[in-house]
């Protein structure tokens, strides 16, 4: 007979089956749950907390996206230039393909996976409402897209300051670029999220998102090129409203003086560009919430 007061019987160890123990600790509210979901989603968008394989694509894209900024930094340091070879806002326009692939490839991670594997029903059976779920997922994607867009701006800004360029000018230009990046991220996250939430197949969502971004941008660019050649730039200005990338380019041209075809020339047109940018994002977000309300009651 072992001494019941001893932690272990002489010379051996023992596993005590305590039976089922109820949980008596704190239970957090919807806000904390939404925050936890958003943070997990943000990590998942970069493959963190998932398999090793799923980290490859986001980090390769991120590295490719940052490489020009690092090279520019090196050039600036060695050549001692008196201005950045590439503008803060122009950077995202140059690497727009990478941004598009990143958003298109990672949106299904956040949206399609739960629908495809039926995991969504486990989320919906928990306290979070379907709209809060949709908003959390969207916030995760927005955050990941912002990291993708803002990191190069940060690197360029640090390089510019280390290169002793004019601080106030650099800050102003970087500030404009951040504002544009936020607008672009809002619309890209909305569009890609909405497409991914309608597709249970990852491949379909990726292709559809890239196709939408590339084709819309291609058509708009063609129209703007022709209208610029023909001297009918107002047609190009209106055409610029029909793709996130051309909205970005147009506002960049208007706000930073970068050389782009048919930028909005009047204040009214600039406002229209901003309104379409914001309106597109808001519409996508509303459609996402509506979509998940449908999923919940299906």
């Amino acid at each position: 007979m072992t001494d019941p007061s001893a932690a272990t019987p002489a010379g051996g160890s023992v596993i005590h089956d305590l039976g089922y123990r109820p949980y008596t600790g704190p239970r957090l509210g919807a806000g904390a749950i939404a925050r936890a979901l958003t943070l997990t989603g943000f990590r998942n968008a970069f493959g963190l907390g998932r398999s090793g394989k799923s980290k490859v694509l986001p980090f390769v894209l991120l590295a490719l996206n940052l490489m020009p900024a690092v090279i520019v930094g090196g050039v600036l340091a060695f050549a001692g230039l008196d201005e950045l070879p590439i503008g803060y806002a122009e950077y995202a326009s140059t690497t727009q393909v990478l941004v598009g692939i990143f958003v298109a490839a990672q949106a299904p991670v956040l949206f399609s996976r739960d629908l495809r594997h039926g995991t969504i029903s486990l989320y919906l059976a928990r306290p979070l409402r379907s709209s809060a779920y949709a908003l959390s997922r969207w916030t995760s994607l927005l955050g990941a897209t912002l990291v993708f867009l803002l990191l190069p701006i940060l690197i360029l800004y640090v390089v510019a300051l280390l290169g002793e360029l004019d601080v106030s000018e650099q800050t102003r230009e970087a500030g404009i670029a951040v504002g544009l990046a936020v607008l672009l991220a809002l619309s890209l996250a909305g569009l890609a999220g909405l497409i991914a939430s309608w597709s249970t197949r990852r491949g379909f969502a990726v292709v559809a998102t890239i196709a939408l971004l590339v084709i819309a941008n291609g058509i708009v660019t063609a129209v703007q090129g022709i209208s610029s050649e023909e001297g009918r730039s107002e047609v190009g200005e209106v055409a610029g409203l029909f793709s996130p990338y051309s909205l970005y380019r147009g506002l960049m041209g208007a706000w930073t003086g970068a050389d782009v075809p048919t930028p909005p020339t009047s204040t009214g047109m600039e406002l229209a560009y901003v309104a379409v940018f914001v309106g597109l994002s808001a519409a996508c977000l509303a459609a996402l919430v509506w979509r998940y309300r449908r999923v919940a009651t299906a």
Partner: protein, 334 residues
């Protein structure tokens, strides 16, 4: 077990999907312990569970779960209820351990507590080292255990299990039914478990609710369903044993009929005397008495009775349920 405060109270609940009337003014009270919800496919089981979770609004009527109104307090209900859906719901590239931690957090547990709870419930459902492997490689039995673990992760007061034994082989099915029993009896968590296999619910549930075409067919304690029928099952060994035994019993004034390789002996009036008579008769005839057993009704017999009483309209539905049960008398492989 059954006379505690009800975990779910349903009054005149109706769900009209337009072409389909899924629930037809259902009034019902479900108590603690384990409650089996039986019905054919389309009888309204899953619809009832979703309404109880506050996910879909009923067309009419009202319901309370754990004292919370489904119309206004869906969030509070879902915080206190665990749900195991019928269909697949596990992402293949995540380990059971990570998955259960995440879902415990989605029920409001802080991260550290979620880790502890996940480890504990995974141990209770019997997922050992495999909990660290991606769930895509799991057998159906292991997947069902992972699904059960996530339903228990936040220590709910009530779990809704939708067809937990679906697709399991007999050994895994027994294990799952054992777990369901333990949840209701040892863990002290109320259970509502659906199945279209009657034999299963007979084994695990304290109460059985039978739905048919969105209406309540019967709700009562399982043992009332399974009242002893007053018949003894007798089996004897020897040359021409059953027939000689039957003849001897009949000549002693006891009704006895063949039932396969056994005898049905009517002991309704004087059970003890008939038992003695059977023992003595077997001894006198020199036969080996290998079985003397009280014959219980099975839940499917209740369906058969109901079918006999039912009007022509609902006979078809009942027939579907009855056949399903009869084809798998002991909850065999689907």
């Amino acid at each position: 077990m059954t006379d505690v405060e009800p975990v779910a109270r349903v009054e005149g609940l109706t769900k009209d999907y337009g072409p389909v009337l899924a629930l037809d003014s259902l009034t019902l009270e479900i108590g603690g312990g384990t409650t089996g919800l039986v019905g054919a496919n389309g009888a309204g089981k899953s619809t009832l569970l979703k309404i109880l979770l506050g996910l879909i609004p009923p067309t009419g009527g009202r319901a309370e779960v754990l004292g919370h109104d489904i119309a206004t307090e869906g969030e509070a209900i879902r915080a206190a209820v665990g749900y195991l859906p019928e269909h697949d719901c596990l992402p293949p590239d995540v380990s059971a351990s990570d998955f259960v931690v995440h879902l415990a957090m989605m029920s409001g547990l802080p991260r550290v507590a979620a880790r502890e709870r996940a480890a504990e419930v995974l141990r209770h459902v019997g997922l050992a080292e495999e909990r660290y492997r991606p769930m895509g490689g799991y057998s159906t039995g292991m997947k069902q255990k992972a699904k059960l673990a996530q339903a228990l992760a936040h220590d709910p007061r009530l779990v809704l299990l939708d067809e937990p034994t679906n697709g399991l082989d007999p050994a895994a099915r027994d294990e799952m039914l054992g777990l369901v029993r333990r949840i209701g009896h040892d863990f002290g968590i109320a259970v509502i478990v659906t199945s279209h296999l009657l034999g299963e619910l007979e084994r695990v549930s304290d109460n059985v609710v039978v739905l048919d075409g969105g209406r309540l067919l019967r709700a009562s304690r399982t043992d009332e369903f399974l009242d002893a029928t007053g018949v003894l099952l007798v089996e004897v060994l020897g040359h021409d044993a059953q027939d000689r035994m039957a003849a001897a019993l009949i000549s002693a004034g006891v009704a006895a009929t063949r039932r396969g390789g056994m005898l049905n002996v009517d002991a309704t009036d004087r059970p003890d005397a008939v038992r003695d008579l059977i023992r003595d008769t077997a001894g006198d005839l020199g036969l080996g008495l290998v079985r003397l057993q009280v014959d219980h009704r099975r839940i499917e017999d209740v369906f058969a009775d109901a079918e006999a009483d039912a009007d022509a309209g609902s006979t078809v539905e009942l027939d579907r349920v009855g056949t399903d049960g009869a084809a798998h008398p002991d909850g065999g492989v689907r």
